[in-house]
């Protein structure tokens, strides 16, 4: 009621007296006046929450929806009749000079190993994309022989065989359930890296 009556009076004044806008506002305050007491804690309450970066970017940001992120139910979900946790894992180690592929059981028993050397590449030829393709192809043959074409892939390291080995897996029709990256991007070991190269 009070606000309504105040508004009415204000309208009348503006109609009859035609006061400038700023003067009118000085006479009547229909809103709560500004708090005169200023404290840091009060100010902090009103400030927006600091972003700690946990929310991240949405999946849509990265274009096509071809990926899914693991959830709580992932270890128990069935892929080709096998739960995720007991799937065999194919670890691909890509280094500057070699590409190694090894197949492991869910109980940590090795099932097979292939590398560029086993396919007849020696010396610096191991560190090429062709050698990586050959090694991956051999691994695919082994997977088909063992009849374990549903695997989860673990990539490790950055090297020339990183992309070609994945491409071969797709071409050969291996059912890859997930891809994990376990490269040590942040070096936690105490050993000091090699001296920088002279320029």
């Amino acid at each position: 009621m009070l606000f309504k009556s105040l508004y009415f009076i204000r309208c009348q004044i503006s109609n009859n007296l035609r006061l400038p806008c700023s003067l009118q506002q000085q006479f009547f305050h229909t809103a709560k006046p500004l708090a005169h007491k200023w404290s840091l804690s009060e100010y902090r309450k009103g400030a927006p929450r600091r972003d700690d970066g946990t929310a991240g970017l949405p999946v849509d940001f990265y274009g096509e929806k071809v990926i899914d992120y693991p959830s709580v139910d992932t270890p128990t979900t069935l892929f080709n009749g096998i739960p995720y946790e007991s799937l065999p894992r194919l670890s691909i180690t890509c280094t500057k000079n070699n590409t190694k592929l090894s197949l492991w059981d869910s109980k940590n028993t090795p099932m097979g190993k292939k590398s560029c050397y086993t396919e007849g590449f020696k010396g610096s030829k191991k560190g090429t994309t062709v050698a990586a393709q050959a090694a991956a192809l051999a691994m695919c043959k082994l997977l088909k022989l063992l009849d374990t074409t549903t695997v989860k892939v673990i990539m490790r390291g950055l090297g020339p065989g990183r992309m070609p080995s994945i491409q071969v897996l797709e071409k050969q029709g291996i059912n890859v359930v997930s891809i994990t990256d376990t490269t040590d991007y942040v070096v936690t070991k105490t050993a000091r890296p090699k001296k920088a190269r002279r320029t």
């Binding site: 071809v66 899914d68 994945i166 359930v177 891809i179 994990t180 890296p193």
Partner: protein, 87 residues
Amino acid sequence: MRHIKFLGRTVLVKDGKIEAAFKIMNRVLASEGCFENFRRNQRYEKPYLARRRFNFERCKAIYEEDMARKISFIMRKNRVEPYPGRT
């Protein structure tokens, strides 16, 4: 999950699109600065060089922020798109 390595940095492939999923994972890792960090850690970085890099990065961030603001100010427009659906 029992193994912690499957919690982070894992993507589940959909409809057998392995390469596309792998590329997206790489893009995510690149945007996080993982590859850059890896390459930097291959060789020892002397403290004086690290200090130099930090200062340079700071300056670059300030410059880029300012420049982006300036560009957005110059490129501002309030008119109807003359050729809709061009790009």
